[in-house]
Amino acid sequence: MSTMPEEHTRARIVRARLIAAVWIAILAIFVAAGLAGFFGVRTGIASATSGGFRLEVEYPRITRSALPMKWQLTLSRVGGFDGRVRIATTIGYFELFDISWLHPAPAEERSAGGRTVWIYDPPPGDSLVLLLDGRIGPGLESGRAANTAVSIDGTRVVDVSYETMVWP
């Protein structure tokens, strides 16, 4: 039995090269998208102002699984705070993360109405800054949307919505 390879027409060889060229183009686009930061890591800032309060949340907008992340909330009000600050965030959102620590630690923490609730005693000064450190949990997550709302003594004063997209 002959071991000679099958002879192909020039048209077939050209077609095979074209298919290879298409694959290379796809590869190049994928790498270019990576260079442009399409797959993260990108940080987003969601902010809102209402009733003299300004709420700003810095969050991972596009990221990948198992990478370090930073979530930071800054609440400010000229004249300071005169009541307990209640910060409530969509409960499923923090399931995206393996959380290392939250600073400062809340006076109270609980889950209520589908939200993770942190309660702080009136902070000194004009602003309260919360920093959450951790990393994106491993796995095939696609991302989560969240809403963070701030209430002072039971009255909602300001809230922001944002979304984190996670590439596997």
Binding site: L27, F30, V31, G34, S65, W167, P168
Partner: protein
């Protein structure tokens, strides 16, 4: 973005390192060189992926390395002047049965290295060899004076 740049930089670094090691080492690894390559692989992986254990990160790294390989292959094909830099050059180390000592010294080859390569190709006497060449990829080619079989390629490790 970072992971693509890290892949690119470390690929170029390894390429320079392997070129600096010399062609002989490409096919004949001493214990130290084997150790270096094994350890290097592990260290390079950490340098490229850092803390990134994601599927996307792994795909980006591999895609970047594949594209660099394709690009260097294209550059070598398209620009003749780049070919020696990218692929290395062939050096004649044996001519009409005589070893070229100067060329061998430059390539850090001993006469035993050349004799061993010849033996592996079934050549009993280097006097039979019209031309012995150390190719750019570190393999030896021998053209015997009988002319039978033409250029003989040194079998690869899987042969």
């Amino acid at each position: 973005m970072e992971i693509v740049i890290r892949s690119l930089v470390l690929y170029l670094f390894i390429w320079v390192l392997i070129r600096a090691l010399g062609r002989k080492e490409l096919t004949e690894l001493s214990a130290f060189e084997l150790l270096l390559l094994i350890v290097m692989g592990d260290l390079i992986q950490q340098g490229v992926t850092h803390e990134d254990m994601s599927l996307t990160g792994a795909m980006l790294t591999v895609s970047t390395l594949a594209l660099i390989t394709l690009t260097s292959s294209f550059l070598s094909f398209r620009f003749r002047k780049l070919r020696p830099i990218i692929e290395g050059i062939s050096v004649v180390v044996l001519r009409d049965g005589e070893l070229d000592e100067a060329a061998m010294r430059l390539e850090r080859l001993t006469s035993e290295d050349v004799k061993e390569a010849a033996r592996l190709q079934g050549i009993a006497d280097i006097g039979e060899v019209r031309l012995g060449v150390l190719e750019g990829d570190g393999k030896f080619s021998f053209l015997t004076s009988s002319g039978e079989g033409g250029m003989k390629e040194q079998p690869g490790p899987d042969a």
